[in-house]
């Protein structure tokens, strides 16, 4: 890439400037990591399942195209400077191929506030259907809406989510939390159900995945929720294959 540095001042080179085809390497890094994530069932950490097939097929075709273009010595006739592309390759290798894939954590929960944007518009449609199919998001909507909540006082449930401290750091309540994504993890919105457990922090830690079985009981006058989940059992479970609700 030394030729680049000469050219920078004269800015750019006329027609036919040849840049090594860095894009082909970047294509391979992206495609290999998408196909690996897809094969090992971890693509859901980043994007909504409805895009899995499209993303994997496109990645496979792009990898083939990149190898074919490299084979016929396709050069890049314009575009980025070499060092930008090289630095991009390093960043991509580190983040996609070295750092292990990870779900979003409480760092993002705190940043986005649990139940900051629960849409209770849908909640009325739930009333009357089988409550054992309700997701954490459904319950978050129900308990935020006093009208629907009245119907479900005493309801027994089993829910899986990760532990989040409440915004005030209450010692006897944590949120059983899930992220809801519509497209990709960037749009994740945390939703949660308050679980009463005195001195929970002695036994459980934030970001730990738990399965709580218990029943909804009317909340005291504190807090936004009309109901809280009173647990009978809390079991530590492994992170589900699809950690987000969508």
């Amino acid at each position: 890439m030394s030729s680049d540095s000469h050219h920078d001042h004269g800015h750019r080179a006329g027609p036919g400037r040849h840049v090594p085809p860095w894009g082909l390497l970047l294509t391979l890094i992206g495609s290999v990591s998408i196909l690996w994530l897809g094969t090992t069932g971890q693509l859901g950490l980043y994007i909504h399942p409805r895009y899995f097939v499209f993303t994997e097929v496109t990645a496979a075709l792009a990898a083939l195209a990149a190898v074919a273009a490299f084979a016929v010595r396709a050069a890049s006739t314009a575009g980025g400077r070499g060092w930008t592309a090289g630095a991009t390759a390093v960043v991509l290798v580190l983040t996609l191929l070295v750092i292990p894939p990870a779900t979003l954590s409480n760092a993002t929960v705190q940043q986005r506030s649990v139940n900051a944007s629960v849409d209770t518009g849908d909640t009325t449609k739930l009333v009357g259907t089988d409550p054992s199919n309700f997701t954490v998001r459904d319950w978050a909507g129900i308990i935020a809406d006093p009208g629907s909540a009245a119907t479900y006082a005493g309801q027994k449930v089993t829910l899986v989510g990760f532990v989040s401290p409440t915004a005030s750091g209450a010692a006897d309540t944590f949120f059983l939390t899930r992220f809801v994504i519509t497209c990709c993890a960037a749009d994740a919105v945390p939703v949660g159900v308050p679980v009463t457990a005195s001195r929970w922090a002695d036994t459980y830690s934030a970001d730990q995945w738990v399965k709580v079985t218990g029943s909804f009981v009317p909340a005291g006058d504190s807090g936004d929720a009309a109901l809280v989940l009173k647990p009978q059992t809390i079991a530590v479970v492994p992170q589900p294959a699809q950690p987000y609700e969508g």
Binding site: A13, V19, P21, G23, I34, G79, V189
Partner: protein, 350 residues
């Protein structure tokens, strides 16, 4: 490799470079380089398989979330960029010239036709950037391609259907989005068509690519060159845009933004800022904002849906490969002002 020597004859200073690495000829060279490509795939996969989580266990949680957020923007957009490059290659190299004669000659009508061209190419905004580059290489003007770039993410069947699924005809959101996109796109096209020297709105490296578009080599050969060129230009920009979007999301607490939801004027600006930061695909952003529909007034929702589909962090990074910073500031200002006016207007009327 006739066209290689033709090209190096043009850029004399690259002679040494070319001599240092003489191209291997014939089928053996192709097979050898194909094998090297496959070996690279194997090496990348091997690195992923041996990489130990302990190597990076020192990363703080916020750092991990930054990586996850950035990669999610990247992995969501990457297939659309590949698809956009594929369509761009089709348009540049495989579409017969007579297809272009179907476009009206009169400038205003021509831009209006280009603003609904997205109906034929339902890729979302990031895929449209390589496509717009292909259109310019095919001879379209700067204002004309910007009209297409601004309109196509919204005026395409996938976006219209998903917006309908999310909102139906409630509160005029769908109609405002479609009409707003059409009007703003044509306004942008008109503003840029008034520019005295449109070629100065393009980055020198893209201008060079326009000039270098010699029709040499077979179509497959040119397709391969185009794939190499477009991925080299687009992917570094996409990665930079994704990581910038991730970093800003980690840095700006969202509840601060959403706390302003009730304010009739600020809420419009806040949702535009949110759209700018989150950098979502126009195909799905309606579902995302649906969750906020009860918190925000209609004007803010429409401003989110119109502005975010046209301009956001990731999109600006991609556009920067082709348009100068000044052109992008002008574009952002025009689109931003129009979206703000549209949102505030709706809040006043409704």
């Amino acid at each position: 490799m006739a066209q290689r020597s033709a090209v190096s004859a043009v850029s004399h200073d690259h002679h040494e470079h070319d001599h240092a690495a003489p191209p291997p000829h014939g089928a053996r060279g192709v097979a050898l380089r194909g094998a090297i490509g496959l070996a690279a795939v194997a090496a990348l996969l091997a690195l992923r398989l041996v990489a130990d989580p302990d190597w990076t266990s020192w990363l703080p949680a916020a750092g991990r979330d930054l990586v996850t957020l950035s990669l999610s923007v990247l992995l969501e957009s990457l297939p659309f960029v590949f698809l956009g490059i594929a369509i761009s290659i089709l348009v540049q190299i495989w579409l017969p010239d007579r297809a272009w004669r179907l476009l009206p000659r009169q400038p205003t009508l021509r831009r209006a036709a280009l603003s609904v061209l997205g109906v034929l190419f339902p890729v979302c905004q990031c895929g449209n950037v390589p496509l717009a580059r292909g259109l310019m290489l095919r001879g379209l003007g700067v204002g004309e391609t910007l009209t297409f770039l601004v309109a196509a993410p919204i005026l395409n069947p996938v976006t219209i259907i998903t917006t309908y699924q999310a909102f139906g005809f409630d509160r005029g959101i769908l109609v405002s989005r479609i009409v707003g996109a059409f009007v703003i796109a044509n306004l942008v096209g008109w503003v840029f068509s008034r520019h005295p020297a449109p070629s100065t709105l393009l980055t020198p490296s893209f201008e060079a690519a326009c000039a270098a578009d010699e029709h040499t080599g077979g179509r497959w050969r040119r397709s391969a060159e185009s794939f190499a060129t477009e991925t080299t230009a687009m992917l570094p920009a996409l990665v930079a845009g994704s990581f910038l979007a991730g970093a800003i999301q980690v840095g700006v607490p969202r509840d601060v933004l959403l706390g302003l939801g009730g304010h009739p004027v600020l809420s419009v600006a806040v949702l535009m800022l949110l759209a700018f930061v989150v950098s979502l695909c126009s195909n799905v952003d309606a579902f995302f904002i649906l969750a906020f529909a009860s918190t925000f007034a209609t004007g803010g929702i429409v401003a989110f849906l119109v502005f975010g589909a046209m301009v956001d962090i990731k999109m600006l990074a991609l556009l920067r490969t082709t348009y100068t910073t000044r052109a992008l500031i002008l574009l952002t200002a025009v689109v931003g002002l129009c979206s703000l006016v549209l949102g505030l207007g709706l809040n006043l009327v409704l």
